[in-house]
């Protein structure tokens, strides 16, 4: 399990404070789950002493995707559904950066679904946070891919006709996915521990966060909030630290490296399984491919080009 206590006796050259990671003040609705995620991320950066200039938060479009503006780091607020291609491109030649991706249920599971699955397969080192509030918020209450069936929305006034996408089950089923975890916005300690656990993962960690939307989905997760039996903490030496939460919530021992077990748990929606559901630390990392040859001298490059030109030379 990850332990953040720094036992090295070297003094840190630079010590950061929470304020170093704080950007523009958020303008999300009061009690929106996004606030929790932002705070956890800022605390994580501070606890890990990540240099702000070496940290990049990438997002798509949507309420949650405003998050980079509220960080004191580099940020990339990109296009709807397209955070992951941008993040993969940033990672391609920059092993030195810490990369976080913030996306929403519409951003990730609808317009960006293709990129989502392929980013899971690329498995480049980054932490992907799916802020899943089961609704389109910014555009005002349209059905999202994870909106429960029969929910009345502005695009389905008589109730959403289809069962929702299960992002956890979908992610696990993608070839070469390597880290799939689930959190809820009302347990910040667990969310923080999950983010922390993700930092020691070599590839792409995908964390789905079940979130409230007090404005458009009022009370839709109340049943899970009010009944502690409706959450289930997954425990494992390889998993997410559960801390004091075990006093309140039921725990289930779960080996995340067992794909069959993980697949079974991924299908479980009530109670909500929380923690690391699937882990494959030996999954191939595409960044190992893209970062080959980063340090190549100008002389080596010039001689490689000359050798190529020779192939086409006629005189």
């Amino acid at each position: 399990m990850t332990n953040i206590t720094d036992w090295t006796l070297e003094p840190r050259m630079r010590e950061f404070e929470l304020g170093d990671y704080i950007g523009a003040a958020p303008r999300w609705c009061p009690s929106c789950g996004n606030h929790t995620v932002l705070k956890c991320l800022q605390k994580l950066c501070k606890d890990l002493n990540l240099p702000p200039e070496k940290t990049v938060v990438v997002s798509g479009i949507g309420c949650s995707s405003r998050l980079p503006h509220h960080m004191g780091t580099y940020g990339f607020h990109s296009l709807h559904g397209r955070a992951l291609p941008v993040a993969c491109g940033i990672r391609a030649r920059r092993p030195d950066l810490s990369i976080f991706v913030v996306t929403g249920d519409g951003d990730c599971c609808a317009i960006g679904a293709g990129h989502w699955l392929h980013a899971l397969r690329y498995n480049m080192k980054m932490t992907v946070l799916l802020l899943d509030n089961n609704i389109y918020g910014l555009t005002k209450k349209q059905t999202s891919p994870t909106t429960p069936a029969h929910t009345r929305t502005n695009t389905h006034p008589n109730g959403a006709p289809l069962d929702p996408v299960n992002p956890i089950a979908t992610a696990i089923s993608m070839t070469n996915a390597s880290f799939v975890a689930q959190c809820v916005d009302w347990l910040p300690e667990h969310l923080y521990n999950t983010l922390l656990r993700a930092q020691s993962h070599p590839g792409l960690s995908f964390i789905r966060i079940r979130q409230r939307c007090p404005h458009f989905m009022k009370g839709h997760l109340d049943a899970f909030i009010n009944d502690t039996d409706k959450l289930q903490l997954l425990t494992d030496p390889n998993g997410v630290a559960t801390g004091s939460l075990t006093q309140t919530y039921k725990t289930v021992s779960h080996d995340p490296t067992d794909i069959a077990l993980a697949t079974k748990i991924s299908r479980q929606t009530d109670p909500i399984p929380l923690g690391l559901i699937y882990l494959n630390e030996s999954a191939v990392r595409y960044d190992e491919f893209t970062q080959k040859g980063i340090i190549t001298s100008e002389e080596e490059k010039l001689s490689a080009i000359e050798a190529e030109l020779d192939k086409f030379a006629i005189t």
């Binding site: 580099y74 296009l79 491109g89 990672r91 040859g293 030109l309």
Partner: protein, 623 residues
């Protein structure tokens, strides 16, 4: 029908000297006529001849045999001096069957008197339908007054190899080498290179085929040409436009090529995928066109100016990201190898139909730099220019090539790459925190960008309207100021450009032809021919399409008439007010307020010098 073209040994035939000839190989797909043509091109270039090759490509990988649509092959124009285009009709066509030969008649590639060497094995086919088809076709060809002769391509090939489909091409190459006095040792080198990845046995078999075709031709034909070469004093390479672009990408020091397969751009990445890793660089094949540019934009944000390559349909998918790159001021190079459109259109054929979409198809006003190479040399050098422009002006740069440049081979002076062409290493020194990330210079619109890793430089890239700090801003004045800054960059670049160079008489005349991209060679050849007949016509090729090179209005004013010639659709003048002009013509009219006319077509094949001459003469006649 006689097999031999004349009786007895023909070693004493006299060679007829020609200044240039157009030779075509045409076969079913998979029979290797393209390889034969490419080899002939390279051999001739090595002998010091000017060449231009055009691939004849079917749309399918394995189309039905003996079908017009399945014709595959290569046109090779060989000349004593420099050859700048595919030329007019063919002088000699070698066809493996009569149906693929039909495809060349269909596109007007054959004139009266074109020498046609056709395999006559089909006359003896077991299949009555094939015999009849062949017989009917031969009668038809004769009525069209082609100089039709029969040769036993398959029968002779079978003496050496069991499956003639894998040997006819090199036998035919040997034959053409004899007819045109090509250096056989050079042909041997090409064959060894072509089949190097296969076995020595295959190399040896093909060498035997080459010699067999050569010997057969000397013994059985009386056709002898020579195309003397003018020696060159500069070292040269032979490349097609896509290889030139790829070598340009490498020489520009670009480290990331992000792409999704699309014809006819993909071969850039095929070559790069082999060569690029030797320089420590990567080709990223993404899951779709959108992701390909998204990945590139990410790499750019992180400090590496990348390239993404595509064609028209892919460009359409990339437009939203392209606008983000404009808005976020992230340098990227976008290479668009145009093909026929709209929609899926003509995937393997040439068209210049993406000019307006490159300029205007993005959401909102997205000013960017657009360049169009018109030669293979420019394909190489424009990538290097594009990378530097992208960084200096902090903007995407689109390079519009086309299928004609992409697949045509040409000798060009060998470039001498130097480190100064490379992208400088990422500067991760501390950022001056008093400088905002979009510190637009009020005069030039230019600003410097911080790179992740630069202390005190952190900012958030956004596609939303933003102020100089990159902060989202909806105020009118901020939006106006930002739009002005992005637009001002193009004006700044234009001030640094020179007026375009006129081919012909720069002081004026009866007509100025304006073109861009690959038709340049054919246009200039037509202009030269007409000027030799004392017709007062000149031409100019625009390299910059956004911003335009300066002085166009003044230049156009020197000529009585101005005519755009390009490969995209336009209505004839008879349409009056409803007339739609060709693409460059449309924007030049708006830009200069000159009454510019256009002559444009979408034949799916390069415009020929003859057609252009005729168009110019017609235009002058109606003046």
């Amino acid at each position: 029908m006689p097999v031999s073209l004349c009786d007895g040994l023909q070693t004493n035939c006299r060679r007829k000297t020609v200044s240039q000839h157009i030779i075509e190989f045409v076969s079913d797909a998979g029979e290797g006529a393209q390889t034969a043509g490419q080899c002939l091109g390279t051999i001739s270039a090595k002998m010091g001849n000017g060449i231009w090759t055009v691939e004849i490509i079917p749309a399918e990988v394995e189309p039905p045999r003996r079908s017009r649509a399945g014709a595959s092959g290569n046109r090779v124009r060989i000349g004593s001096g420099r050859i700048t285009n595919a030329g007019d009709q063919a002088d000699l066509v070698i066809a493996f069957n009569e149906q693929v030969l039909y495809s060349r008649f269909d596109v007007g590639a054959i004139r009266e008197g074109t020498l046609i060497l056709l395999d006559d094995k089909w006359a003896e086919s077991d299949d009555e339908h094939i015999r009849n088809e062949f017989h009917d076709a031969v009668e038809d060809f004769k009525s069209r007054k082609a100089d039709l002769r029969f040769i036993p391509i398959e029968a002779e090939t079978k003496k050496i190899i069991r499956d003639p489909r894998h040997g006819k091409n090199i036998w035919a190459l040997g034959l053409v080498c004899a007819l045109y006095d090509r250096d056989l040792s050079l042909a041997e080198i090409e064959i060894a290179k072509k089949f190097a990845k296969k076995s020595q046995e295959i190399v040896d078999t093909n060498l035997r085929l080459l010699h067999a075709g050569y010997d057969w031709a000397l013994a059985n034909t009386d056709i002898r040409f020579s195309i003397p070469a003018e020696p060159s004093d500069v070292p040269k390479i032979v490349v097609n436009g896509n290889i030139a672009l790829a070598l340009g990408i490498m020489s520009a020091g670009i480290e990331v090529c992000s792409m999704y397969p699309i014809t006819p751009a993909t071969s850039i990445s095929h070559y790069l995928a082999e060569a690029f890793p030797k320089m420590g660089c990567i080709v990223h094949q993404s899951e779709d066109e959108i992701s390909a540019i998204g990945f590139a934009i990410g790499a750019s944000f992180a400090g590496k100016t990348p390239v993404t390559i595509t064609s028209g349909p892919g460009l359409a998918l990339k437009n939203e990201f392209l606008a983000l790159a404009v808005m976020a001021e992230l340098p990227i190079v976008v290479i668009v190898v145009q093909r026929g459109g709209p929609s899926t259109g003509l995937p393997t054929r040439v068209e210049q139909g993406d000019l307006l979409s490159a300029l205007y198809a993005q959401p909102g006003d997205a000013p960017k730099i657009v360049l169009a190479p018109s030669t293979h040399e420019e394909c190489f050098h424009f990538v290097i220019t594009a990378r530097k422009l992208a960084e200096t002006f902090r903007t995407p740069v689109i390079l519009l090539s086309d299928a004609n440049l992409a697949t045509g081979q040409q000798p060009i002076p060998r470039p001498t790459p130097r480190a100064s062409w490379f992208e400088p290493p990422i500067d991760l020194s501390d950022w001056d925190e008093t400088v905002p990330p979009f510190a637009w210079d009020p005069e030039t619109g230019l600003s410097q960008r911080p790179i992740p890793g630069q202390k005190n430089g952190h900012y958030v890239v956004t596609g939303l309207a933003h102020d100089t700090y990159g902060h989202v801003a909806y105020e009118s004045s901020i939006n106006e100021n930002a739009m002005r800054a992005r637009s001002r960059k193009l004006a700044t670049l234009q001030h640094a450009l020179k007026p375009p160079v006129v081919h012909g008489d720069p002081n004026g005349g009866d007509l100025l032809v304006v073109g861009w991209g690959s038709p340049r060679g054919a246009i200039e050849e037509a202009v030269d021919t007409l000027r030799a007949q004392n017709i007062n016509v000149s031409s100019v090729t625009l390299k910059f399409l956004s911003p335009f090179e300066p002085g166009l209005k003044e230049l156009f004013a020197k000529y009585k008439r101005v005519l755009c010639i390009e490969i995209n659709y336009s209505d004839p003048p008879s349409f009056g007010d409803a007339r739609r002009y060709s693409q460059l013509c449309t924007i030049l009219r708006a830009h200069t307020l000159c009454d510019i006319d256009c002559w444009s077509h979408v034949p799916g094949i390069p415009l020929t010098p003859n057609d252009i001459e005729q168009a110019i003469l017609d235009h002058l006649a109606h003046a």
